[in-house]
Amino acid sequence: MDDASGLKNVIPSLLDNAKILDDTYSLACTVKNGHPPSNLQLEMPAFDHLTEIEISNIVNFIRTDLNGKKPISILDIKSQLNLCKQRNER
């Protein structure tokens, strides 16, 4: 949604989201690979056509503008993406 508020229990909000606030969670991997359905039938689609720089911009927009957190460097994003590629993590 335009305001990042998600859709009830169908699509999670990107504001005050526990995973986004958790620095050990890789938002970059979620954007690239999507998210499997947990509470429900829906999965989040992968955005694997995005470049590392685009993913970095999205992740940092969500971290800083939406959630008031510090940005993370493109190098960290790169290594996260390599890790989730290896583990095929979503």
């Binding site: 949604m1 335009d2 859709l7 009830k8 169908v10 509470n39 429900l40 039938q41 829906l42 689609p45």
Partner: protein, 205 residues
């Protein structure tokens, strides 16, 4: 002088000067029925709801309703449209005169059970908002009667290309207004049109 303006102003507050009181139009091209030209109307349908009961246009004649065409797996515009349908739901869920009707374009996956779960995840009142499934081709044709285009398209996200209007239908099955369901501003206008239609019905009774 200022008194006069004040009086005029209060008059306007009470009688809503400036809001236009023309009735909502009947939209669409006329059809031929029994050799007579009649305004466009939604043809007969009967679809299974999330509670596995048949909902027909005949049943809906007791109500006015808002219709859209969607599917739960739709990754593109549907969540936005659904969010706007939710706005209407939240405004009218306690008013039995107004129903919401969402037709799935993907009945293979969107079984009544699944649609029930979807509705639960949206916190909707299942007596106010019907998620309907039926024959796929028939649904595509029916959506077209609501001026909503839908077609299979491998290139479209989710495999189905369709438009996201929310359509207001009166008790006679005529389309009286619609909005682009991805645009909250348009839906604000649609909410006003719903009110207008309810006033029109009130005046008739």
């Amino acid at each position: 002088m200022s008194k006069v303006i004040f009086v005029l102003f209060s008059f306007c507050l009470v009688y809503s000067c400036g809001t236009d009181n023309t009735p909502l139009p009947v939209l669409g091209k006329p059809k031929i029925k029994d050799g007579q030209e009649v305004p466009h109307y939604i043809p007969d349908f009967s679809y299974l709801s999330q509670d596995s009961v048949f909902i027909s246009n005949d049943f809906l004649k007791k109500h006015i309703y808002l219709a859209d065409c969607f599917f739960t797996h739709c990754p593109s515009i549907c969540p936005k449209v659904t969010k706007q349908m939710l706005r209407i739901h939240d405004a009218y869920k306690d008013n039995d005169q107004v129903k919401l009707v969402s037709f799935t374009l993907d009945p293979k996956r969107d079984t009544p059970e699944r649609l029930k779960m979807y509705g639960d995840n949206l916190d909707v009142d299942h007596d106010a908002w019907y998620f309907l499934s039926g024959d796929k081709e028939e649904t595509y044709d029916l959506c077209f009667e609501f001026f909503i285009t839908a077609m299979d398209d491998e290139l479209a996200p989710g495999g189905i290309n369709h438009s996201g209007q929310i359509v207001l239908v009166d008790q006679e099955g005529h389309i009286r207004s619609f909005a682009d369901g991805t645009d909250p501003k348009e839906v604000t206008r649609l909410l006003k049109d719903i009110k207008k239609l309810l006033i029109e019905i009130e005046a008739k009774n």
